[in-house]
């Protein structure tokens, strides 16, 4: 899946994008099923243009993808956008598991 022009997701953009409750709601909705921009617009008390703007912010942060289908613009969750953060945190968790193991060894040794 092509995310953007070849750069990894920019975490600052991700933070900014997710700082808004409507945008967080859009991300969670499109994570499981696709929506058209007009379909999303019908869910919120705001104009089509406002929703379109929110979608554009999410798109720039690589959190969603948008695709033209006929006269509709279809929005989908971009799972790779958050996948990198997930793998990195998995790695960090592994580091802490290892540290916890070393701490157990250290504590046992000092008690002995």
């Amino acid at each position: 899946m092509v995310v953007d022009q070849g750069s990894a997701p920019d975490i600052d953009k991700v933070f900014q994008a997710l700082a808004d409750s409507t945008r967080r709601d859009i991300v969670s909705r499109v994570a499981t099923s696709e929506f058209s921009v007009s379909g999303l617009a019908s869910l919120y008390a705001m104009s089509f243009a406002a929703v379109q703007k929110h979608v554009a912010v999410l798109e720039r942060a690589s959190l969603v993808t948008k695709e033209k289908r006929g006269r509709e613009q279809i929005v989908r969750g971009n799972h790779e956008g958050l996948a990198k953060a997930r793998s990195l945190l998995d790695g960090y968790e592994a580091l802490w598991r290892q540290r916890a193991g070393l701490i157990v060894d250290l504590l046992n040794e000092k008690q002995a």
Partner: protein, 166 residues
């Protein structure tokens, strides 16, 4: 089993790691307070840490380096923002250059450590770490990767390769 839970927040780029140890709170506090004990577990076995300074008071700093398998050194610093013995410790953690000067552009990790009695002479340690950037987290993981970490990293490589495809 020492590890109780591990909670990731992808949006906030944070990890909350909870472990229980069969030792009193005062004893577990020592593994943070005493640099010689800290060195025994902070770095992975392949990248052991050496703390040169460890001014364990609020406002104090620590400087350390980790030595890799080929003798290469990765330097880091801590700045203690809260030290409330023996229950709570907060610090910023960042990379440093060869002279030990902080490298600002890599960002810092903020860590909050709490130690609580968990009954039966046990201690529950909660470490909440928040990263400022993925780059920082990635660089940290390059040091001393064990098999589990290597697997996670190859996953990332796969994702990045996919993203680079035109």
């Amino acid at each position: 089993m020492a590890v109780i839970s591990s909670t990731k927040n992808l949006e906030a780029l944070s990890l909350t790691f909870v472990a229980e140890f069969d030792a009193a709170v005062d004893r577990v506090w020592e593994i943070w307070q005493d640099p010689r004990q800290l060195e025994r577990w902070w770095g992975p076995p392949t990248w052991p840490a050496t703390f040169e300074d460890h001014d364990f008071v609020a406002g104090g700093t620590a400087s350390y380096y980790m030595t890799g398998p080929d003798g290469e050194k990765a330097r880091g610093w801590w700045r203690f923002t809260a030290v409330d013995a023996p229950n709570r410790l907060e610090f910023d953690d960042g990379f440093a250059d060869d002279r030990g000067e902080p490298v600002a552009e890599m960002g810092t990790t903020h860590a909050v450590v709490t130690l609580e009695h968990a009954g039966d002479g046990r201690t529950r340690m909660t470490v909440h770490s928040i990263f400022e950037s993925e780059d920082q987290l990635e660089k940290m993981l390059e040091m001393g990767m064990e098999e589990g970490l290597k697997e996670a990293m190859s996953q990332i490589d796969g994702i990045l390769a996919e993203q680079r495809r035109p």
